[in-house]
Symmetry: C2
């Protein structure tokens, strides 16, 4: 088994903590605090933080340490807008290139997502649902066959996580998810029908939904 070094382990935890909002946006990340939490020395921490800086989740000021990247309405809009365009690109290529296994994967992921719709009710596990949700969309775009494009897409997905969590919590138990599920059905139908234009339109609209709601939440 590949025992990864402690920088890699702490990177994983730290990233999750930033994305999940354990560390708030703009918060200072003190070394003493992080050493305590992750039980490692300064150097693995600096390695992990350096990587998060490249991922644009953490900022560094020389001689003044690290802090979580602030969030802003402008960034929210930019990220979601860009995500919508990239996702659209992926969907177009996937429809062009996808084979039988790809289609089967979509149907399977859609089924699993729908089967676990209860996760959205009342006190369900929203993060677990989001994972299935993401797996569903990934099943579609993975057909594009481009590692680079999928990497770009993943990066934007992660950068959007902090905003998305706000949306998920805001919508907990609400009816907004019903619309969401309907959009999924429409998307599956359009993709399997290999209808590029309407698939792209649907997926763009689908991604931009939280963006509109979140604009009101951020101040």
């Amino acid at each position: 088994m590949p025992q990864e070094n402690s920088a890699a382990k702490v990177l994983h935890h730290l990233k999750q903590d930033v994305l999940a909002g354990y560390f708030e946006a703009g918060q200072k990340l003190k070394m003493s605090q992080l050493k305590e939490r992750y039980q490692v020395g300064v150097n693995p921490l600096r390695e992990a933080l350096s990587q998060l800086v490249v991922m644009q989740l953490v900022q560094v000021q020389d001689q003044r340490g690290y802090r979580v990247c602030p969030v802003s309405q402008a960034e929210l809009l930019d990220i979601y807008d860009t995500r919508a365009r990239i996702e659209s690109l992926c969907v177009g290529l996937a429809i062009e290139r996808g084979d039988d296994a790809w289609e089967a994967g979509i149907v399977a992921a859609a089924y699993r997502l729908q089967s676990n719709a209860a996760l959205l009710q009342g006190n369900g596990d929203l993060q677990a649902w989001e994972q299935l949700h993401q797996q569903f969309h990934h099943a579609i775009v993975m057909g594009c066959g481009s590692e680079e494009l999928l990497r770009v897409r993943l990066h934007l997905y992660e950068k959007a996580s902090r905003y998305r969590n706000l949306w998920l919590q805001h919508n907990a138990g609400h009816a907004a998810f019903d619309v969401n599920q309907m959009e999924h059905e429409q998307l599956v139908a359009a993709v399997l029908a290999r209808d590029v234009t309407s698939s792209q339109a649907l997926v763009q609209k689908h991604i931009l939904v939280p963006s509109r709601v979140l604009q009101n939440l951020l101040e």
Copy 2:
């Protein structure tokens, strides 16, 4: 003046050295060697290398150190293909959103590029030309107004650098650059005419030119 820490300085040098091919693809990066070259300790080096890992220019194997990412024909194709699509996206948005200052910037950058065409002759400075070339294309796409999209584009441009250098050296003094310059003129005309379709077609084709040539160079 902002005196950056030594990890940031070494990151810059190391990145340039990798992109410019001073360290060959697949080569092992020994700490003793790097300490010697950049005159810093192990920890700033590990920070810089960690960042290059996120940028996908360097690979890390646990307990086995770092090595430059290998190059491959598959990656070459993927990067250039993806770049062409992203650039096309940027161009479309830029035409939609660009203002007068944007148009002026394009004309200025095109003029400077053409004025320095001599850099391509015989023993000219290809890297200097490439910088002007890139500034020209940046002048066009910056009109898209999306930080995120431009960042994705820059990332792909940098990832393509090692392949592009091969192309530049291969074409040194050849006639391939004449075609290149003609394509630039056509692109400027189409962009200023706000013709989205032909601008996108031109820029996609333009980016993919080196890709075809390089496929033959890589084994």
